[in-house]
Symmetry: C2
Subunit: 232 residues, 2 copies
DNA sequence: CAGTGGTCTAGACCACAAA
DNA sequence: TTGTGGTCTAGACCACTGA
């Protein structure tokens, strides 16, 4: 007996929903019936249902029944979606191009946001992100250099979060600020946009689980080509 | 017997943790002991522990025991913050002024977003939101009229959500899209802003728990005076 | 009213952790 | 080995929903 029964029942019901044996909005059989069908006690069956409810796949209504919750895809995207997620959700292919990668002294705002000393060096990366070869976003990422001095440029620029976690760091709170700005000449050149059109601006500070900031990102998106989506 | 036992036990243990009877990192008594102490079966006791675990207050370690988890404060502010929350967090006073309130035919986009028929009438409200008397945001809210035809104008314009819930409706999923735009003459007049400067745009569709959209909002914020904040 | 989910019991055996 | 949490049973009574 590898897996517990309630996990196996969970998986079976999930598969049934994916195969449209139970469709969105359908009422699934009552707990007592399912318990008989799977040959388990009602408590065990309820444990399976509970995990599906926690995942937002099922919805229980007292006195009425247990129903397949609406949507399925959207469930995951509670909270802000990343550039990659939004682009892929639109059926486009995300890509990015690193345009600068340098180590140097922090600016005033970098020093403040990252909570570091003026002497501490920072790694600064600049990137353009594309959806199907259309430039969408210009992004500057700053990291205290001593946190990543033993990590390769390739790992930093492509799998920063995974690499940090492999090296024993734990990602904590992420705070984002979103506003807007007008496209200047530099933006226009980098993003192939028109001066004077609207951009979305985003600032993000990512902390480690001990509360120390480790990444400060500023990004500017062409509003004509992009929007952020949230759900709750 | 008002509350279920497992809820009462949940609350009791939570209070004990708040009173430092059990401190962060402490192991609390074993399930079987607590079950005896509270005079319930072990399954019921486990249900109480489970809810505390889901809240991140307790942490169970197989074969070892159940421990008081670290953190506590961070819980609340996950996700997008509302205008009122952001303004108050900045130490300013939010207010709003209703500038139009009319019943009429839906526009094409209103019809689509709200999933209604062309003949169905809609209630459309237009509002300016202020922080300390500075105009921040221009907002248009559209609601299928038949949902609110028995509700007073005052309730609709000031306590829409609460009033709906009192009338037996249940709020469901909320989806928001955020992008940017350039301030036009109308925006400039309403928001006392300059034509050509940057605005944040927000579209929001709020559904009832049955998945039917009941509110479609479009809002434009002066970027110089406002930003959205998220945390996770 | 009958059927549903919500709660609860008093046991049981298991796998895992720590001594 | 002892104690822990993880799983599971075969019942029970309750409150709620909907016909």
């Amino acid at each position: 007996m590898e897996e517990p029964m309630y996990i196996r029942i969970h998986n079976q019901i999930k598969r049934d929903i994916e195969k449209h044996v139970y469709k969105v909005g359908d009422r699934i059989p009552a707990e007592r019936q399912l318990a008989v069908k799977f040959g388990v006690s009602r408590m065990t069956l309820r444990q399976a249902i509970k995990t599906l409810e926690d995942e937002g796949i099922l919805e229980r209504r007292l006195g009425s029944g247990t129903y397949v919750a609406s949507q399925k895809v959207q469930e995951k995207m509670s909270g802000i979606m990343s550039f990659t997620e939004i682009t892929e959700a639109n059926g486009q292919t995300p890509s990015s191009k690193l345009i600068t990668y340098q180590i140097g002294k922090p600016s005033l705002s970098e020093k403040e946001r990252l909570g570091i000393k003026p002497d501490d060096e920072v790694l600064r990366m600049e990137r353009i992100r594309f959806a199907d070869d259309t430039p969408i976003c210009h992004e500057v990422v700053t990291i205290p250099y001593k946190l990543v001095e033993n990590i390769s440029k390739d790992d930093i620029s492509t799998h920063l979060y995974e690499t940090l976690e492999k090296n024993g760091y734990q990602i904590g709170r992420v705070t984002e600020h979103i506003s807007a700005a007008v496209c200047n000449e530099n933006d226009a050149r980098l993003l192939k946009a028109k001066k004077g059109e609207a951009l979305i601006t985003r600032r993000q500070v990512t902390e480690l689980s001990d509360g120390k900031p480790f990444e400060y990102t500023r990004a500017r998106y062409v509003a004509e080509r992009f929007e952020f989506t949230f759900s709750k």
